[in-house]
Amino acid sequence: MILVVAEQREGKLNRATWETIVGAQQLASGAPITVLVPGANGAGVARELAAAQVKEVVTLEHAALEPYTPDGYTAALQDAIGQLSPTYVLLPHTYQTRDFAPKLAARMDRAILTDVTAIKPGSETAFVRPMFQGKLTADVVPLGPAPHFVTFQIGAFRVDQVAKGTSPAAVRAVTVNVDPSAIRQKPEAPFQQAKQAVDLSQAERIVSVGRGIKEQTNIEVAKKLAEALGAEIAASRPICDAGWLPMERQVGSSGQTVAPKLYVALGISGAIQHLVGMKGSNTVVAINKDPDAPIFEIADYGIVGDLFEIVPAIIEAVKQ
């Protein structure tokens, strides 16, 4: 049996869960799939997920899961996994998964493969994952006894590929025992630092800058290009970390997710954390001095060279 651990908060499903179900369906080749929905008010989410072609959906409610803590999730899921005895435990590679899944796997002394982008079936099922900032890709196999934990990169599987069942899957509840004193973290309510004044998700065109811009004063070059193209300016994480552009202009896993008609990446190498925030863009242009930069793997048009020579030339060409 393959177990998918859903992610939900207060009855709101994280859509990456659907992607994980697609991954489970690819991996399963006939093996039954169970979806586990941890957390309070999961009944609605469970009904929603029961539409997928899976054997059953299991809800798991316990005081130890509210609010989320890595200690609470580790203890409760260890108990639930023990009862369900899956061969694989699949999760979306979200920040929450990253917070507890390695601990859970370590406690159970089982393999965990993270940030997986594809499955390679064969005599020995291999999992594909990026390495060295996306410069290389590895086929990896888990070692040791089951269950094997696998987390899927956001966007690795497409939600619209999910197989739906002819009738809703059965929904049942599982109960666990957790000692509340095992929970050492005391979380406060989540908050947004600053109200997002800029909604990049609605932008039609975006000019985005990365490390290749080299200096803060050079941001002006990118701004001029944005102006010429009628685009919003955005950046990869290091640029916002350095304070060269405000955090609200950051695209990537820790910033905004965008899907403009045109995305121009200037001096952005294309680390996974950035790509997950922009790979839904319609047309991607990459300008980078490094021909091996991973950004070229997802770009429609690429120019290899010095952006300080190329960008002024583009501005000139647009004006003509």
Binding site: D115, M131, F132, K135, D241, I303, D306, I310
Partner: protein, 254 residues
């Protein structure tokens, strides 16, 4: 406060990947190495906590002999001493083996706080800090953007997705994985570089018990998902051609 910072040495950003003969790992001898960037932020945070609360910063690294380079760099930036778990096999070790190696060398030190980067720029597991916490029996929090330590307690700002944050409190000792950008990095001064030469690096051997939990069967240059059209020529020519295609082919600008 006695603070440990776990750092990793990784290939530099400018490095062009080359594979070994079995195509299961890189050609180590071709690479230039540097300190893993998120670990550099973890080190900086440790140094700032020491400046505020007093104590010691001990840098810990698990890797082959070459790792001494980043250990020296960390000492030059202000760490007080170091622990080097030295073993050639640690160069390509998975997160469990690395955590085992670190935990065995760190356990007896009874650190108040352990910091490390949220993930490494080489294998990118995003696991070592969390697994290490479990092996040391300590609470943890990940992807941290601010650290407040007071009276044996810790309050940290954890980054969630999409611009959300959350404060989390927990008792010390604890393990934190630090997000890049939490602070502004300092560079080593000449005085620091000189002082580092006299600082202690304790060598430890990797525990024999650790067995890997995963195996790389094949490593390769990624297959291109899309057909990228590379536009050549002089900057002026390339720019002109790009604009033409954006107008006529992609129709995304007017």
């Amino acid at each position: 406060m006695k603070i440990a910072v776990c750092i990793k040495q990784v290939p530099s950003r400018e490095w062009h990947p080359r594979l070994n003969d079995t195509k299961t790992w890189i050609r180590d001898q071709d690479a230039n190495f540097e300190m893993n960037e998120p670990d550099a932020y973890a080190l900086e945070e440790a140094l700032r906590l020491k400046e505020k609360h007093g104590g010691d910063v001990v840098v810990c690294s698990a890797g082959p002999a070459r790792v001494a380079q980043v250990i020296r760099e960390a000492l030059a930036r202000g760490a007080d001493r170091a622990i080097h778990v030295e073993d050639d096999a640690l160069a390509s070790a998975d997160a469990f083996v690395t955590s085992d190696a670190l935990a065995s060398a760190m356990k007896e030190e009874k650190f108040d706080l352990v910091l490390t980067g949220l993930q490494s720029d080489d294998q990118g597991f995003a696991q070592v800090g969390v697994v290490l916490a479990e092996k040391l029996g300590l609470p943890h929090a990940t992807i941290i953007m601010e650290v407040q330590a007071q009276d044996g307690n810790l309050r940290v700002k954890r980054e969630l997705e999409g611009g959300w944050f959350q404060w989390v409190a927990m008792p010390l000792p604890a393990v934190l994985t630090i997000q890049s950008g939490i602070n502004q990095l300092r560079y080593a001064t000449l005085k620091g570089i000189m002082a580092a030469k006299k600082k202690e690096i304790r060598k430890a051997s990797a525990p024999a018990s650790a067995s890997p939990k995963q195996k790389i069967v094949s490593l390769y240059v990624p297959e291109k998902g899309k057909k990228t059209q590379i536009i050549g020529g002089s900057p002026a020519e390339a720019a002109k051609e790009l604009v033409r295609r954006l107008r006529d082919e992609a129709r995304v600008i007017s």
